[in-house]
Symmetry: C2
Subunit: 217 residues, 2 copies
């Protein structure tokens, strides 16, 4: 039996469409009122494990799931030994540096040394500012990162931007992108080496789906 | 103007009752449909900042809020320079080690060396197992920690237990407590030193509330 780790939240709907097109039907997960964290596919070949975004790479790396669907932002923030299999294309968003609209800074390199930057993505932000040779004081927050500049706690933020609506609502503006992120299919390296064809079949089918279909029209 | 950081979630209702009894009315925060992250008290003396649990100590430590109400579990997990002012008594829960009901282990010290323990509270768990001189492989998860033993990823978990219902629902049993946690009033040390009586007044009133009233009957 194949176990697939799926991320709760924004990627779930397209993940389930993508898997269904590839032959694994987990649509029971999206039924209103569903509270189950594991469900079997209608064909009985696989089960899905519904977990938090950041937990997907953990379950796959430890082998409790052989495959996982998760955003590239999460994979970059929590680097673990995983096989990166398919860029699924959906869930596009960018990791960006943003400041108040009234801020004089228009590039990340303009930010003053040792200024404060609030983020949920400490590892990504550290890597980025290190690459600029710009020492900043990173403040780790769990939510509502836009409050950092609004309360005067930080000069800037590093956060995911999809439509940009949250930034606009809070009077912030993105000034530089760290990277563009999309959903990815990842696998447990050992499980892939020991595979007798079952996993490979899913991986190939997912690749066909991505090349042949447009999700979320 | 005093700013008070409040934790979203389980502690919010009692935090607001407690503050109201002490003279600061933030009940607009609990109105259905409220989406504001900052509100002023009805008396105009203070404003509340509604943030994630783990962000309360951050806003208070950086001085964006002079006071904060948050669980002792969060303060232990994210140790920052804060003044611990009042034990508010509500929000009682325990941080516990739990295993499958079918597990042979009945004390934390029974767990085999280098076994896996899943937790959201890496710092608390590390401190506890270090005190037992028991080396374990801690796996950090963001949610649904009970899936650790259920999927076979970990032998045990370290997690907050309030009623114990989640453990029972998942066939787990708590075998040892790390500590008992309640909500606390914390303050920014510098703000308290510079205080001209405003903060002290709130702190004293909160102390009286705790000694005189029983919240959440």
């Amino acid at each position: 039996m194949i176990t697939v780790a799926l991320a709760k939240g924004a990627l779930l709907k397209d993940s389930i469409i993508c898997l269904k097109t590839a032959g694994l039907d987990f649509t029971t997960l999206t039924r209103p009122g569903n509270r189950q964290l594991t469900v079997s596919s209608s064909c009985g070949r696989a089960r899905a494990l519904l977990v938090r975004n950041a937990d997907v790479p953990v379950y796959v790396a430890y082998g409790q799931a052989q495959l996982g669907l998760v955003g590239d932002d999460v994979l970059r923030e929590h680097p673990l030994e995983l096989a990166h299999l398919v860029d699924l294309g959906f869930g596009g968003c960018r990791m960006a540096v943003a400041v108040k609209q009234s801020s004089p800074y228009r590039r990340a390199a303009d930010l003053p040394a040792h200024c404060r930057v609030a983020t949920k993505f400490i590892h990504c932000a550290r890597t980025f500012f290190d690459s600029l040779h710009l020492p900043v004081d990173l403040i780790q927050l769990q939510g509502s990162v836009e409050l950092g500049p609004l309360t005067g706690m930080s000069e800037a933020i590093v956060d995911l931007v999809a439509t940009g609506q949250t930034l606009r609502d809070n009077g912030l503006v993105a000034i530089e992108d760290l990277f563009f992120s999309t959903a990815r299919l990842v696998g447990n390296p050992l499980a892939l080496r020991m595979d007798r064809g079952q996993l490979q079949e899913v991986v190939v089918a997912m690749g066909h789906v991505v090349r042949g279909y447009s999700l979320s029209p």
